[in-house]
Subunit: 477 residues, 2 copies
């Protein structure tokens, strides 16, 4: 471990914004992934010039710097595998401007997604790329991971909503990228390069985001299926039909059972269910979309189909999906729900096969896995439910992940849909991007020559994360 110049850090961010006590550092050593590693210090900058100073110090001394938002990352993006300084960006959480005339807002990176949407709501608009973790996820973290969520099928991902940004480079230089206008063709779209770069190219200190009107009408429906294949094929048919859902979610039997165990929703324990939604300013148009999706579900043997405009009914339909992530931990008291192979994207026509593959691989490897996700945008999620104390379960999990991603790549899918790569998914990422790894490294090297920005992630991630990083779990040997 390198020596950190605590005096200098204190001078930059102030006494209260520096943490070096091991018990504090421990907390910042993990995010929502399985990984853990100790940082050397945690600082919570309050403004851009503090970050510029910090970067100068870190760059001169080749100290890793890891920007961190809400810590909801699933793949170890903010776990300091090479040690270094964690930048807790939540100290910069001001909404700088909500410009209704020009239809954009400017925010600091530490703004929590839900807080932004609460502020926008009073003007009848919303920021759509919101992930499920919106209660804790920050805009900066969402940019780092090109996050998206249930509404990406209609409204796009973070990359689509970011018009511009200000970024501090490893040298401490501050640059403005992108623009404040809807369209822009002024050379390299560098703001789009920063989106998804997982804090490895620069520290976002301000973002200009577009927003859209909150629709007047929203109608949500649900359909049950006796086979996962039917549900998956319904998704494919809906998306190929030119439908324009504002949400199209899959939940499988494992997910449904998990929810039933934790909540009194009395969901029918079928093989799979689809939740679909349409929204708009005109009811007839919403009806049109809902009826179209209903019909397609019927054609694929969907049952118990039901849809409602009523906010309470909609909340009830969605409740199971919303609480799925915590519910999965309760599926079996002996099994933890781990974010391994947690998300991927495949072409629509492979959605049914992908869901089936997850179950098949789970069974083959003696694990329980669930298939769910924002399938309307090609996104599939899974969690591995396993006994984290058993070493053999980790080996099985590793095998299962490898098989899942082998399938994903074989059907022209991609390793991550919206959770990013970090550590957990780096193996498949490196295989998928094998022909552009040189290019990725070239860009990283050009922008961060001392390799101080979140090193050891993406193409730099260690070959075998199970052994290379500490796990958050106690594993019996």
């Amino acid at each position: 471990m390198k020596t950190i110049d605590e005096v200098r850090l204190r001078n930059i961010v102030g006494k209260n914004n520096l943490k070096t006590d091991p018990s504090d550092l421990y907390i910042y050593g993990s995010d929502s992934s399985v990984h853990h590693a100790m940082p050397w210090a945690v600082v919570k900058p309050e403004n851009t010039s503090q970050i510029q100073e910090l970067m100068k110090y870190a760059n001169e001394n080749k100290i890793p710097v890891i920007p961190r938002g809400g810590g909801s990352g699933m793949c170890g993006q903010t776990v300091p595998v090479n040690g270094g300084i964690i930048l807790d960006m939540k100290g910069m959480n001001r909404i700088l401007e909500i410009n209704l005339e020009d239809v954009y807002c400017r925010v600091e990176p530490g703004v929590v997604d839900d807080d932004l949407n609460l502020a926008l709501k009073q003007y009848g608009v919303f920021y759509p790329p919101t992930p499920a973790s919106s209660r804790i996820a920050t805009i900066g973290g969402e940019i780092a991971n090109n996050a998206s969520g249930v509404r990406s099928v209609k409204y796009g991902a973070t990359r689509d909503a970011v018009l511009g940004m200000k970024v501090v480079l490893p040298s401490g230089e501050l640059v403005s990228l992108g623009a404040h206008t809807r369209v822009e063709a002024s050379g390299y779209q560098l703001h789009k390069l920063i989106v998804g770069s997982e804090g490895t190219l620069g520290i976002v200190v301000e973002a200009t985001l577009s927003f859209v009107p909150i629709p007047e009408f929203r109608c949500m429906g649900i359909a049950n299926f006796d086979s996962l294949k039917d549900a998956g094929e319904a998704i494919g048919s809906i998306m190929a039909s030119g439908s324009n859902p504002s949400m199209l979610e899959l939940v499988d039997d494992v997910a449904i059972k998990a929810v039933n165990k934790t909540m009194d929703l009395g969901l029918k324990e079928v093989a799979a269910a689809l939740i679909f939604e349409a929204d708009g300013m005109v009811k007839e148009a919403v009806d049109y979309e809902i009826n179209k999706m209903r019909k397609i579900c019927e054609n694929h043997r969907g049952a118990d189909i039901y849809a409602s405009y009523d906010p309470k009914e909609r909340a009830k339909i969605f409740m199971g999906r919303k609480k799925l992530f915590p519910a999965l931990s309760k599926y079996d008291n002996n099994l933890a729900s781990t974010a391994l192979a947690d998300d991927m994207a495949v072409p629509y026509s492979k959605m049914a096969e992908m869901a089936g593959k997850i179950h098949e691989i789970a069974e083959k490897n003696g694990l329980i896995m669930t298939a769910y996700g924002h399938c309307g945008s090609g996104c599939m999620h899974t969690k591995i439910l396993m006994d984290t104390k058993r070493k053999d379960q980790w080996s099985s999990a590793k095998k299962a992940i490898t098989e899942v991603y082998e399938y994903v790549r074989s059907v022209n899918g991609t390793t991550s849909a919206e959770h990013g790569i970090g550590l957990s998914k780096a193996e498949s990422f490196k295989i998928e991007k094998s022909d552009s790894l040189n290019l990725l490294n070239t860009i990283k090297q050009a922008l961060d020559p001392n390799n101080i920005l979140n090193p050891g992630k993406l193409m730099q991630a260690p070959e075998n994360w199970v052994t290379a990083t500490n796990l958050r779990y106690c594993v019996n040997s």
Copy 2:
């Protein structure tokens, strides 16, 4: 001028795909801009491996390579200011796949936009970023310039529609970027970096593009205004109201007069007109959008307001806008319509002021300038009508451009909305991006260390293009 190894080039692309005759080269020396410069050779590759071979040859010998599509660029993007080899990409014009199930298509870069849309039309879908030059513009050129057009206000620009691509790097290496899925969070979004890079970072040899359903209903309207300010303010109000037009175009008095001179449309010669359109699958929703925009136009003193679903009526309304570009050359037989300061983007609330500024600057500098554009996406166009034989008019034009862009930057606008930077707009681009120029150069240097890909453009463009490049026009001294 460097010596070109004609034998080697002939061996790579074949005898018929190499041009070295000066009369052929002359034609490839200009695009739709004011600039001209002679290339050393023109090659028309037929496949990716030929391009790989060519790049290896060029890179070894440090010979500039300039990829070229339809030649409809307005800013000199494909003008070989440093000489070199023009790659005429129209030899690679196959539509490789139209995948209706997975909602994407794969095309070679030389496919002409209209040809792609003709092929898609039979399946009831379309590729929306289409620019006005779609009859000649190629997908590769559109990617290079992040092109967009009348429908970008609703459907986005090229950067939004490109899911992935294959690119040949200066070394001859072939890389796959992006994915085949709607969402993707697998690390650096390098395909989004290539969009808008004007052929300076790599040669796109294949693109994966999303498409959308052709809407069942389209309604187009027009409103006349006695003042440009009123029309501009109507645009701002429409966009701030959360309207969702599929088109929102401004034409000013100069544009209207030009069209009347060339076509028997009998347009009322008012100060400005707005053309607005809404589309969708449900008539009630289209009605809603159209009525909303009508009402806002009325509130801003719009007159003669008229809207129609009828394709013939719509074509009539749009005809003037569609033929505007050629019509401007006929405004005055002594004046040429030059693509100088040809496009820019400003925040919506500045649209009225921007249009007024163009007229004010024109008058001050003894020029005729027109203000029009896809204002719904923040895009404003202008052309300078001038006597190109008069040297003083070039000086005036230069002054006018400088003043236009000074204004654009002062209101947080950006130098290009959709036509790119090339040579003509490089001066303003360099000022606008002054704080990120180092970063742009770093990326260019990292990806193209020998600076062979379209050198002398964007941040590398010569300080004063009027003297640094040849003009296509004969100017009396």
